[in-house]
């Protein structure tokens, strides 16, 4: 029994900026990867240029979103005061900083494209680590799944954004189809938001792509991906509210719980 039914953990204090950033930053990172892959394959210049623009715009939206969520936004540069490899937040802050610079520079100097793609891979995956490496039970239990889940969803979004821009490369639709297939299999926590996000990221775009409704599939993927991030942050909030002093560690949850104390008569 928890003390006076009080949860063990504090809920996350993050507001809408953080899940929005997870979405925007992830899509931007994946777009940078697509840009380089398309370049290597000698693809259409227009596709490469659009991918670079999505990466740069996303990166430049990410920073203000992250700063806005800080309790003391004026001190955002303190993030780059130290590098703490023990903290996924610190690793992420440096990744965002380098990715932001590289993806913006790529617009003028294509030599930065590989660096942009490399840090873009980090952008698309580290946010899963950021949630996983915490005390919040539902995040921690999914620490292995979240980075892959977010990566697939980011890749699907980047392809979908390019498709909505009118690009019709078969590579884009195969990658998006693969991402949708993976998202169909991705684990889902309880909650209406989580379920909606899951359906919109997985089965809906998968089926729409099979029947040739490419743009509709792309729109579903993008919306599903955004909702997925909100759903996972919300799941953490619910999980911390329910956190019990009995479920902190594996040994504790395996131990037999104390018999529930009856509500004592206070009179």
């Amino acid at each position: 029994m928890n003390y006076q039914d009080q949860p063990l953990f504090k809920p996350p204090v993050w507001t809408w900026e953080i899940p929005t950033y997870f979405f925007v930053g992830g899509a931007a990172g994946a777009a940078a990867v697509i840009g380089v892959a398309a370049q290597v394959a000698g693809e259409d210049e227009k596709l490469i240029r659009d991918a670079r623009w999505i990466a740069a715009i996303g990166a430049n939206l990410s920073t203000p979103l992250l700063i806005a969520d800080l309790g003391r936004p004026g001190r955002f540069l303190n993030m780059l005061r130290v590098f703490n490899p023990q903290s996924p937040m610190s690793v992420g802050a440096w990744t965002v900083a380098v990715f932001g610079g590289a993806s913006t520079a790529t617009l003028l100097l294509p030599i930065f494209a590989p660096l942009s793609a490399l840090t873009g891979l980090g952008m698309a995956t580290y946010t899963g680590v950021l949630l996983g490496v915490t005390a919040i039970p539902v995040w921690k239990e999914n620490a292995r799944v979240l980075p892959v889940h977010f990566a697939a969803s980011a890749l699907g979004t980047a392809c979908s954004l390019l498709e909505l821009r009118g690009h019709k490369q078969r590579a884009l639709s195969s990658l998006a189809l693969g991402a949708a297939l993976f998202e169909t299999a991705a684990p889902i926590e309880e909650g209406a938001l989580m379920k909606t996000a899951g359906v919109l990221s997985g089965p809906v775009p998968f089926v729409l792509r099979l029947i040739g409704r490419r743009k509709a599939a792309a729109a579903a993927t993008i919306l599903g991906s955004l909702l997925t991030r909100f759903a996972w942050v919300e799941a953490g909030r619910v999980s911390s509210r329910r956190s019990a002093s009995t479920t902190s560690g594996p040994a504790a949850s395996a131990a037999t719980a104390a018999p529930p104390a009856q509500t004592p008569d206070r009179t």
Partner: protein, 266 residues
């Protein structure tokens, strides 16, 4: 982090003994006064004599009013009367501290006394320590934007004083001193209580867990989880390797898939 004048040498700790606590909340008040911690507001919780309910950004010491059913015959209480255990909670100042690991600004540091301290002039309120504490201690103050918790009275310790809560405690329920000395005092106390027949008394200090022990030792009666003291706390770092491995694998597959997809479709 060298200090010129201090009387306590080496690492320090609290030993909080719930069997001596009378629930007066002098520790809460002394902490608030010394550290200039704002009021919590006037909420009525309806839960025992506790309207604060837990540690937070404006509560760095918190007296729990744990209600247990009385065993008939024990203590001479009537069967319909509950027993109260009071226990003053505080930041655990973990040996492996989730908040310290999580801090991206270097605001959270380990002091020369072994405590975990948030430097208020550096914290930018990212909130990552809030979700990384395995005891739900750290919290961000909405009116301020920064994260706050017990400072272990770092300023007082620097000046050779004990923390304000320990100074104010009228019953010796909160002891402060050299960590090893506190462990010895706790061991001696539990032995004495067990010898006197209080067999449900136990010490809480999670030395065998990933937290690797704390600078706050507690003596409680009954199930420690009734005090929100988890029997097997876990620091977030335990999933660090699997999470990053998974991220690396995902990044590798993504890069490969993109390269292959564009190569094949060309």
């Amino acid at each position: 982090m060298q200090s010129a004048a201090r009387t306590v040498k080496g690492t320090t700790g609290f030993f909080t003994d719930s069997t001596l606590c009378i629930g007066c909340k002098a520790c809460e008040v002394a902490c608030k006064e010394w550290n200039d911690v704002p009021a919590d507001g006037f909420q009525f919780s309806g839960k025992s004599y506790d309207n604060t309910l837990g540690l937070g950004h404006s509560t760095w010491r918190h007296v729990k009013f744990v209600e247990h059913e009385t065993q008939i015959g024990a203590g001479g209480n009537a069967p319909h009367v509950i027993t109260w255990q009071f226990s003053s909670d505080v930041c655990k100042h973990c040996e492996v501290a989730g908040c310290l690991d999580a801090c991206p600004t270097g605001s959270i540091i380990r002091t020369e006394f072994g405590g975990v301290y948030i430097q208020p002039d550096i914290c930018n309120g990212c909130g990552y320590c809030v979700v990384s504490c395995p005891f739900g201690v750290v919290d961000r103050r909405p009116t301020d934007g920064r994260a706050f918790k017990c400072t272990f009275c770092y300023d007082r310790q620097k000046a050779g004083l004990q923390p304000a809560c320990a100074s104010a405690c009228p019953t010796g329920s909160i002891l402060f001193g050299d960590l090893e000395e506190m462990q010895r005092a706790a061991d001696a106390r539990i032995e004495k209580l067990h010898a006197a027949g209080m067999t449900d008394a136990k010490l809480w200090n999670p030395t065998g867990t990933s937290v690797e022990g704390t600078h706050s030792i507690f003596l409680v009666r009954g199930d420690e989880r009734d005090y929100n003291l988890p029997s097997n706390p876990e620091v977030p770092a335990t999933v660090m390797k699997p999470a990053w491995s998974s991220a690396a694998a995902a990044a590798g597959v993504m890069a490969l898939a993109a390269l292959v997809a564009f190569r094949l479709s060309k």
